[in-house]
């Protein structure tokens, strides 16, 4: 089973080599074989006596991150969708993508996506699940931006990346919470300890984080805005990722944790409300679109909302209907996208206002579109699978348990109306999609290409999918017991078996279906009369505008914040650094009670120390107020000489010698470069800045004095200097303790200080020489 997951990744490595022969044999033929093999491997699990299979491969055992694979009914449903539709899409793409495209790139991304999607649905370890989850986001980003020379592709790719990765990170948070609370990373073991999580105080947070991940990935309101922009991708990608597989990853996630999370009332409230609202909003907005793929994108949003709502209802019937509709939606939506691709490919336009009357030119495509869109609309005909799941949806929304009180009851009483409302618009856009493209009178002459029927290879994939629509519609029992029941049982956590009938008698659900058809037909026929309603809702309000505003503002404000302190002025940076040190040191010292004054261990003060100190203080102030640069440097020299005298007083002859030489050399160096420096000028800083400088410098000086006094007052250990005094002659062979320490006890420091001097000398040499050479050139 691990090999099945890794197969796409392994083949992806070889694609760049295979794509070199693309002019002889289209790379897609190699790629199509991969999902076919996987499909054949997994199809044998289908059957009435299916039992979940688990496999374990070690990865990072010390962190409890092992590749646990778990194949139950739900995973099987998704695995077959991914590999099955993957095969058809790969085959379709052979005819859709011309050999001059960058086929190598396309199929590497495609296989990466397929492998990671298989990983998402099969993994039982939360961390492995998250890894594959982000892989799907990444490969989806690459696929959307496949035509990266287009502005729209780049925009759509970035948008989907930002939104899905935002959700992915919040999902990671939820998964980490669950794993930490239960002490295991295996999903099955987490679910077996559900009491622990349900009673935990962080449960609302976990629920919120996981649902956020699911909603962003599955394009639920208000995170649906990335999906219509993802339609910039090549059509096979839209058919695969944005109708059948990736957008259902969120559905899969909710379904996976359904037995645990659905116990909570908030799960019902959140998931079903968001789902129903997405259903209505998506179908309402789909009617407004003019691009074929945009209609399908909003339709996908709305259908995903419907599945999400059914999972939210949480009754056995609803769960069964959800599993059934996942399958049905993949069949008819996949074929519709391929139809849109064919229309685009054969006419050169996807704009429904320019299309029309294509039925005689593309008869086979039109037939495929007819069946698929009628199935999407849920027309009560016995050979359309969409009708079955829609009717189950109506039935489940009608049969909601009304015995509860509060907000739940209120929601339950309005859900049936919303469901019918959303389905009416579903009907309208389905009719609009079919009749707008293939019927009516279109300006055939105006189209960029002269329309003609697509090549056979392009028609095979949608044909198989439409055949699936009809077969499931005619004989639902074929897939019910061996397949859908397992999926529903795996979602619900208990055995769920339902019969799928076409005719229930005059049930409330059937009446709802008829209502949808009647109102839908009326609304479709008079569509131009009420199209103005879109100017009121959503009118000027748009989530896309909000997204753009948000991104724009984030960039602008972060630029603003950065520019507000990074103005290139060294003075300002020094002020900030000193103020920060001041603040941190002061608060740390005050909170820990670090300021202490201890006068018990002080030596007496002599007259000459005081006199030297006075001289140094006068000279230091003199340096600050000096107007002339030579005066400033000379007075600074007095400070240095005073320091040397202090060393004399404190009996450090070596330090005094060095200090004197260094001071003199420094003064000499200043004089050397003074010739090239500008005259010392009055700084033209604002009085506020000057005051601030004074405050900061005075405060910093006081602070450091306090720190020094405190350090002296809290000596905790004996100094180790007595060791050097005792051993400098015995071990080092010298009387001069300072020198013995410098070259013997701590010689390494001296070595690197010599290195510093050497580097400085070389740097000065390089600076001067290189500049001169540059001048010569």
């Amino acid at each position: 089973m691990l090999l099945a997951v890794l197969l796409p990744f392994i083949i992806a490595i070889f694609i760049p080599f295979l794509s070199r022969w693309k002019h002889h044999l289209h790379t897609g033929f190699f790629v199509t074989a991969v999902p076919v093999v996987i499909f054949i491997y997994f199809i044998r699990f289908i059957g009435p006596g299916f039992e979940p299979v688990g496999r374990e491969y070690s990865w990072i055992p010390s962190l409890d991150m092992n590749i646990l694979l778990y194949l139950d009914g739900l995973s099987l449903l998704f695995v077959l969708l991914i590999s099955g539709i993957g095969s058809l899409v790969a085959f379709y793409s052979i005819y859709y993508l011309h050999k001059s495209e960058q086929l190598g790139h396309f199929y590497v991304y495609f296989l990466l996506f397929m492998g990671s999607m298989l990983g998402v649905v099969l993994s039982d370890n939360v961390f492995v699940l998250y890894t594959f989850w982000e892989f799907t986001s990444l490969s989806s980003f690459l696929l959307i931006g496949f035509w990266n020379y287009r502005e729209g592709s780049r925009y759509g790719a970035l948008k989907s990346m930002l939104i899905t990765v935002f959700g992915g990170l919040s999902l990671l948070g939820g998964l980490v919470f669950m794993s930490v609370i239960t002490g295991t990373a295996s999903i099955q073991e987490i679910m077996s300890q559900q009491e622990l999580i349900l009673n935990h105080e962080y449960f609302p947070l976990i629920l919120g984080l996981v649902l956020l991940g699911a909603f962003t990935k599955s394009a639920q309101f208000p995170f649906h805005i990335w999906l219509p922009d993802a339609m910039e991708a090549p059509t096979p990608v839209s058919a695969y990722l944005h109708s059948a597989t990736m957008v259902k990853a969120g559905i899969f996630l909710v379904a996976r944790f359904f037995p645990m999370l659905s116990v909570s009332e908030w799960f019902f409230i959140t998931v079903s409300t968001v789902g129903i609202f997405t259903l209505c909003w998506g179908s309402y907005m789909a009617v407004r679109q003019t691009d074929l793929k945009a209609i399908l994108a909003f339709s996908t949003i709305s259908q995903l909302g419907m599945i999400m709502a059914m999972l939210g209802f949480g009754t056995e019937l609803a769960v069964f209907a959800a599993a059934f509709h996942i399958l049905n939606h993949a069949t008819f939506k996949g074929s519709l996208f391929m139809v849109a691709g064919i229309v685009d490919h054969e006419t050169g336009s996807r704009d429904i206002r320019r299309l029309g009357g294509l039925m005689t030119f593309l008869p086979i495509t039109a037939t495929l579109a007819l069946v698929a869109s009628f199935s999407m609309a849920g027309l009560p005909l016995p050979f359309l699978n969409g009708f079955y799941s829609k009717e189950l949806f109506f039935q489940s929304v009608y049969e909601l348990d009304l015995s509860v009180a509060g907000i739940t009851a209120l929601l339950q009483s309005i859900f049936p109306y919303l469901a019918v409302f959303g389905s009416i618009f579903t009907f309208v856009y389905s009719m609009y999609f079919f009749f707008g493209t293939f019927r009516g009178k279109g300006d055939i002459e105006e189209l960029p290409k002269k329309p003609h029927e697509a090549p056979v290879g392009m028609l095979i994939s949608p044909l198989i999918l439409v055949a699936g629509v009809i077969v499931i519609g005619l004989i639902p029992d074929l897939i019910n017991e061996p397949f859908v029941e397992h999926a529903a049982s795996a979602i619900g956590g208990t055995e769920i078996a339902k019969d799928i009938y076409f005719w229930h008698g005059i049930s409330p659900a059937f009446i709802m279906s008829i209502t949808v058809v009647v109102f839908g037909t009326i609304l479709f026929l008079v569509r131009p009369k009420w199209a103005g309603v879109y100017r009121v809702i959503p009118g000027l309000l748009s989530l896309n505008k909000f997204y753009d505003w948000l991104v724009d503002r984030t960039e602008r404000y972060s630029t603003f914040i950065t520019n507000s302190y990074m103005n290139g002025s060294l003075g300002r940076y020094v002020r900030l650094i000193l103020a920060a040190i001041l603040l941190v040191t002061f608060s740390a010292m005050s909170f820990t009670g670090g300021f202490t004054v201890d006068t018990s261990n002080l030596s007496t003060i002599t007259v000459h120390e005081v006199l030297i100190a006075i001289v140094m203080v006068i000279a230091a102030f003199g340096t600050i107020i000096a107007k002339n640069r030579i005066a400033a440097i000379l007075i600074l020299g007095v400070v240095g000489y005073g320091l040397a005298m202090l060393f004399v007083v404190y009996r450090a002859p070596d330090l005094a010698l060095t200090q004197l030489i260094v001071e003199t050399v420094t003064v000499g160096l200043f004089l050397l470069v003074f010739y090239h420096l500008p005259k010392l000028q009055k700084t033209d800083e604002a009085p506020v800045t000057k005051t601030l400088n004074v405050i900061i410098s005075v405060a910093f000086g006081l602070m450091m004095t306090m720190v020094a006094i405190s350090a002296h007052s809290s000596k905790l250990f004996e100094s180790m200097s007595s060791y050097f005094v005792d051993n400098s002659y015995k071990l080092g062979g010298g009387d001069n303790i300072v020198n013995v320490i410098l070259v013997d006890f701590r010689g390494l420091d001296t070595l690197f200080e010599i290195a510093v001097l050497g580097i400085a000398a070389m740097a000065i040499f390089a600076l001067i020489r290189l500049r001169e050479k540059k001048k010569e050139e």
């Binding site: 007075i635 020299g637 007095v638 040397a644 009996r651 010698l657 003064v667 050397l672």
Partner: protein
């Protein structure tokens, strides 16, 4: 004999303190000249004399501390002052300290 030694010691200490105070006072006066000094040569001369005073100070402190370790310091100050003053003088005279080769 003991008493004489004590008296001598006290005498040396007291005179050394008086000398330190005197020298320090002269350093402060020179510092006034160095800060105030209307022209750069004034300051240069002031710094030179401050250095000589510091030599004296170091000598007196060495006497006070009863140490011969600081004789090097006194000699070094002498040399450095000479070099420093020459450098300053050259800078004030020509604007540069090390001239480039004429050829």
């Amino acid at each position: 004999m003991e008493e004489l030694l004590e008296v001598t010691k006290t005498l040396i200490n007291v005179s050394a303190m008086i000398a330190i105070i005197g020298v320090s006072f002269s350093v402060m006066l020179l510092l006034y000249r160095a800060i105030k000094g209307p022209s750069s040569p004034d300051r240069a001369v002031a710094l030179d004399v401050i250095g000589i005073n510091i030599m004296a100070l170091a000598g007196i402190i060495a006497i006070l501390l009863v140490s011969t370790q600081f004789n090097d310091v006194i000699l070094l100050i002498g040399i450095l002052l000479f070099i420093g003053t020459i450098a300053l003088a050259k800078f004030l005279e020509k604007g540069v300290i090390i001239e480039r080769d004429m050829d």
